[in-house]
C-alpha cells in the first residue's frame, strides 16, 4: 500500500489541510479525499478539460497534476469561482444562454472561461474557440457555450 501524505493548500480561498495517497492526482484528491466533486473526470488523461482547475492562478487539468504538487500552492475549482452570494458572470451567462445540457462538461468550461476572461477580457469568437478547444462538450455543439462566454465578457465590461 502506498504512502499517505499531508497536503496543505489554499483551496478556494481557504487554507486546507488534507490527507491524500501519494499516488493521487489532484483530481483524485479533490474528488475522493476532499469531496469537491464539482471537478469532473471525463478522461483522466488530459484530453477533455472536465477536470480543469486553476493552479496558482493558471488553468490546468487536475488529472495531469499530482496532488503532492499543490502543497503550499493555491487551487481554485468550480466551487470557488462564484463571488460571495452571487454567481460569477460566466456562471450566470451559462444559465441565461442555456449553455449546458447534461452539464458534466460545465465545471471545466466555467473554470477555463474564467481563466480566459481574466487574461483577455474581450476575446474574439476565434480566441474563445481556440482557448476552449481543450474542453470537450458532446451535448451542445458549443454554440451556446461560445455565446455565453461572449455574454459574460460583455457583462463584466459593464461592471
Amino acid at each position: 500500500m502506498s504512502k499517505k501524505i499531508v497536503i496543505s493548500t489554499d483551496l478556494n480561498g481557504d487554507i486546507t489541510e488534507f490527507i491524500a495517497d501519494e499516488r493521487d492526482s489532484l483530481l483524485d484528491a479533490l474528488r475522493e479525499r476532499i469531496g469537491l466533486t464539482g471537478v469532473k473526470e471525463g478522461c483522466n488523461n488530459g484530453n477533455c478539460g472536465a477536470c480543469a482547475v486553476l493552479l496558482d492562478g493558471i488553468l490546468v487539468n487536475s488529472c495531469c497534476v499530482m496532488a503532492a504538487e499543490v502543497d503550499g500552492g493555491s487551487v481554485t475549482t468550480v466551487e470557488g469561482i462564484a463571488l460571495e452570494n452571487e454567481l460569477h458572470p460566466v456562471q450566470q451567462a451559462f444559465l441565461n444562454e442555456a449553455a449546458l445540457q447534461c452539464g458534466i462538461c460545465t465545471p471545466g468550461f466555467l473554470v477555463a472561461a474564467k481563466a480566459l476572461l481574466d487574461t483577455n477580457p474581450e476575446p474574439t469568437e476565434e480566441e474563445i474557440r481556440f482557448w476552449l478547444a481543450g474542453n470537450l462538450c458532446r451535448c451542445t455543439g458549443y454554440d451556446k457555450i461560445i455565446t455565453a462566454v461572449q455574454e459574460a465578457s460583455k457583462s463584466m465590461q459593464k461592471k
Partner: protein, 292 residues
C-alpha cells in the same frame, strides 16, 4: 496510478542524487503532461517522480542581447508564448508552443518535457532543431551540451542518462533577414497529434537563399533534420519552382510508417506541402512581416 513516490528537490544537486539513488524508474516530473499519464496508464514502469519545478535553474526564460535566448527546461508553454521577445525574434517557437494540447496542457507542458519524452511526433522538436538549439545538461559527472538535432535517438529514446537533467535550452540570436516557421498537420484544428510536422528556417540575401534548415516530425523514429533539402536550395534564387523541386526530394528522404494517424503516401504528400508552406512563411518573416 502506479505506486510512485513524490520528491520535490530544491536544487539540481539534490535532484540528481535522488535520480541516481532511485535508478531508472525514477522520472523527472516537469509539467507531467506526458509522464503522469504514462505512470497512470502503466505504459512505463515508474516508481518515483522527481518534481523539478521548485529548482530556479530550470524555470523561466530570458533574452540576453546578442547572446540569444535561454529557456528553462521546465518553463511552461504559456510563459514562453506570452514572452514578447520570443514573439518577436523566435516566432517558430510560438508556433509550436501555442498548439501543444489545449490551454490547460500549456499551463504545465514544457519544452524540456517535450524533448526528453522523445516522441517522433513532438511538436516543438523540429522547431528547436532548425533554430540550432543546444541542450544544457547536468548529471552526476557534471555539465554537458548536446545539439538538439542529435538529442533524440528513437521513439521515446534520447541521449539523456536516467540521472541527468536537462537544465535549459539555448538559442543563438537569429541572423538578420532570417525567418522561421513551424506548421503541423492534424485532421482536427486543435488537440491532436501531428500526422506530419515541419519547421523551416531561412536566411535570405536579397532573393537568394543564404542558408536554411528544415526539420520534419512524425515521419521517422525521431524528428529529422533534412540537410539534403538545405543543400539543394542553398545559394539559389528563391522561386516556387525551386521549392517544388526541393519538395520532390522528400520522396526519397523519408519512409514514414502506416499507423492510425496516416499512411506513408499521405505523409509524404503532407511533408511536401508543409515544407513549401513553412518556407514561404519563413521568407515572409525574414522580411520582418507577419504571417496570418
Amino acid at each position: 496510478m502506479q505506486d510512485v513516490s513524490y520528491y520535490r528537490p530544491s536544487s539540481i544537486k539534490e535532484a540528481i542524487k535522488i535520480l541516481s539513488e532511485h535508478g531508472p524508474t525514477a522520472k523527472v516530473l516537469a509539467g507531467g503532461t506526458d509522464v503522469i499519464v504514462q505512470a497512470r496508464e502503466r505504459t512505463k514502469k515508474i516508481t518515483a517522480f522527481v518534481d523539478i519545478k521548485k529548482i530556479p535553474d530550470v524555470m523561466g526564460l530570458g533574452i540576453e542581447g546578442h547572446r540569444g535566448l535561454t529557456i528553462g527546461a521546465a518553463t511552461p508553454m504559456y510563459q514562453i508564448y506570452n514572452h514578447s521577445g520570443v514573439q518577436e525574434e523566435y516566432p517558430a517557437i510560438i508556433d509550436s508552443a501555442n498548439i501543444i494540447g489545449g490551454k490547460a496542457i500549456q499551463g504545465r507542458a514544457s519544452l524540456g518535457g517535450n524533448l526528453c519524452n522523445g516522441s517522433p511526433a513532438a511538436d516543438t522538436i523540429p522547431t528547436l532543431i532548425v533554430l540550432e538549439g543546444t541542450a544544457n545538461i547536468i548529471g552526476p559527472n557534471g555539465e554537458r551540451k548536446i545539439a538538439i538535432e542529435d538529442f533524440c535517438t528513437g521513439p521515446g529514446k534520447t541521449l539523456l542518462q536516467h540521472d541527468e537533467i536537462l537544465i535549459s535550452l539555448h538559442f543563438k540570436r537569429p541572423a538578420p533577414f532570417s525567418g522561421s516557421r513551424f506548421i503541423r498537420f492534424i485532421p482536427r484544428n486543435e488537440m491532436d497529434i501531428a500526422v506530419v510536422n515541419v519547421a523551416s528556417q531561412i536566411q535570405m540575401d536579397g532573393n537568394k537563399i543564404e542558408s536554411s534548415r528544415v526539420a520534419i516530425g512524425a515521419c521517422a523514429p525521431t524528428p529529422l533534420l533534412l540537410k539534403e533539402i538545405s543543400n539543394f536550395i542553398q545559394g539559389k534564387e528563391l522561386s516556387q519552382d525551386l521549392l517544388e523541386n526541393a519538395a520532390e526530394l522528400f520522396n526519397n528522404l523519408i519512409t514514414p510508417i502506416e499507423d492510425m494517424r496516416g499512411s506513408p503516401e499521405h505523409r509524404v504528400d503532407l511533408a511536401k506541402t508543409l515544407f513549401k508552406r513553412t518556407m514561404n512563411d519563413a521568407v515572409i518573416r525574414s522580411n520582418g512581416e507577419k504571417v496570418q
